[in-house]
């Protein structure tokens, strides 16, 4: 694993979010170093996606502070929020590609709408992004004509075409088989190194996250209960970390108990 720069790109302090009576985030704290691949782990329904959307300014947190490159993002800091949106991008769980636009048009969209580049420059940069993700042959195809893996790469091409400093990945491997999960994490790690962006990933796939990430955090019941390196995570004796990390082993024990023959009845 490469050395990670020590300056912080993102700081989250005491973040709270509720939906009516349901408290999802109950004071989340963590820091993401610049240039790192930071993964937030947690079981389904732990609030990982809500956390990511609060940081990405898609949802408004009820309380707490988010700092991007040292600048606070809040309702009143419109300029800081615009700057943050310009320098970050989001890769959705279902890719959120525009199905009425071709692959090239999907990638060109953020450039067309947020920059003053000429049509020729936009086309060149979009094709370049497609080429880097090895899907330039599909430039004229619609998302529905692409395979699941190609759609994921197209979504990543759209996310990186604006050359962001921070990319959010919301459950990038949800619903994929182990081989595809590996492929997606390899893709994230490879392009994160290649393009030098900071990646904030939320997932519940422990094994892949531990191999690919520079730092991991575990979200449980609305709070971060562990933050550290993958090796620290593997060595941690924190009960929640252990139960999450050793879930496969626990499953094996549970199944063995079910399959164990009942004791011989002597009566």
């Amino acid at each position: 694993m490469e050395a990670v720069a020590t300056d912080l790109l993102l700081q989250v302090e005491d973040l709270h979010k509720s939906f009516e009576d349901r408290r999802v985030l109950k004071g989340v704290n963590f820091e993401v170093p610049r240039g790192s691949l930071f993964t937030v782990l947690g079981p389904s329904g732990a609030g990982k996606s809500v956390l990511l959307k609060c940081i990405a300014q898609v949802l408004s947190p009820d309380a707490g502070t988010i700092r991007f490159a040292g600048r606070e993002l809040g309702e009143e800091q419109a300029a800081a929020r615009r700057d943050f949106q310009r320098r970050s991008s989001f890769l959705f769980q279902n890719n959120a590609l525009f199905d009425s636009l071709t692959a090239l048009e999907n990638v060109a969209l953020p450039l067309e709408q947020t920059t003053r580049l000429s049509d020729r420059e936009i086309r060149e940069r979009s094709l370049e992004a497609l080429r880097q993700l090895e899907i330039e042959d599909s430039a004229a195809l619609y998302p529905s004509q692409l395979s699941g893996g190609m759609q994921k790469r197209l979504a990543l091409a759209r996310a990186i075409v604006t050359r962001p400093e921070l990319v959010f990945f919301d459950e990038p491997t949800a619903g994929l088989d182990p081989l595809r999960r590996n492929a997606v994490f390899t893709m994230i790690a490879r392009y994160q190194r290649q393009f030098g962006f900071t990646a904030l990933v939320v997932t519940h796939d422990v094994a892949e996250a531990l191999v690919a990430s520079d730092r991991v955090a575990l979200l449980d019941q609305g709070r971060i209960c562990f933050e550290g390196t993958p090796s620290e995570f593997s060595a941690s004796s924190h009960p929640v970390v252990r139960s999450f990390r050793d879930s496969a082993e626990a499953l094996g024990l549970a199944i063995a108990a079910i399959r164990r023959p009942p004791p011989f009845d002597q009566s």
């Binding site: 959307k53 990405a56 300014q57 898609v58 615009r82 949106q85 310009r86 970050s88 991008s89 989001f90 959705f92 279902n94 959120a96 590609l97 525009f98 199905d99 009425s100 969209l109 953020p110 067309e112 709408q113 947020t114 003053r116 604006t162 959010f168």
Partner: protein, 258 residues
Amino acid sequence: MLHLLGRQTLRIVMGFGDFALFTGRSFRAAAHSRRLIRRVCRAIYEQGTLCLPVILIVGLFTGLVLGLQGYYVLNRFGSEGLLGALVSLCLVREMAPVLAALMLIGQAGSALAAELGIQRNSEQIVALETMGVSSHGYLVAPRLLAALVAFPLQTALFVAVGLWGGSLSGSLLLGVESGLYWSSVEEAVRSRDVRECFLKAATFGLLAISICAYHGFHADRCRSATGARAVSAATTRAVVHSCIMVLVADYVITSFLV
């Protein structure tokens, strides 16, 4: 009972306020939206060219029916020569803007509500916001601006085809002299009537498209359903509400202008 009535009233007032803010925000976003003209042209194509067949068919048959009904009424008083005036005034002042708007709601408005609903469901709208692109400016504003152009043009076409339909049934089938029909049209219609017609068409267009866009854009707010059912419910609400509002607006505008 009183509590329920108050709550419902508040809900409706808040709904109107939210809708007004949505429309205002969309127009404001248009000022900052890039490559807007291109998307407005695309929306004019969707609301104009794609809806042309339905406008032509409904316009023609409205004119044919008006010609027939008008002839039998006027015939009783020996005033068949005024058939052109009756058909033209009915079309220009009332029927063309209303019927064209209802047809466009059925075709373009429902499609818009469904499209935005699906985009909301599949997080495409949220994706725009995360890119720093105003979803109001990108998705709604071009459609609103296009409605200001497409609805009056479609209404004008409706009037033209309807007049021709009236002439067909009056002159060709019932024997009213063609020259008499068209001179009666020319004498009856004044520039004030045409202005009123275009004013109504633009207002109905703006109302219909903004209501359809509003419901589609907020398809996720549906409490009784989620997913595809929420989109279907939003589309139904969009069509029903915009039809009602077009008829209400028609009454209000007519009462001020008559």
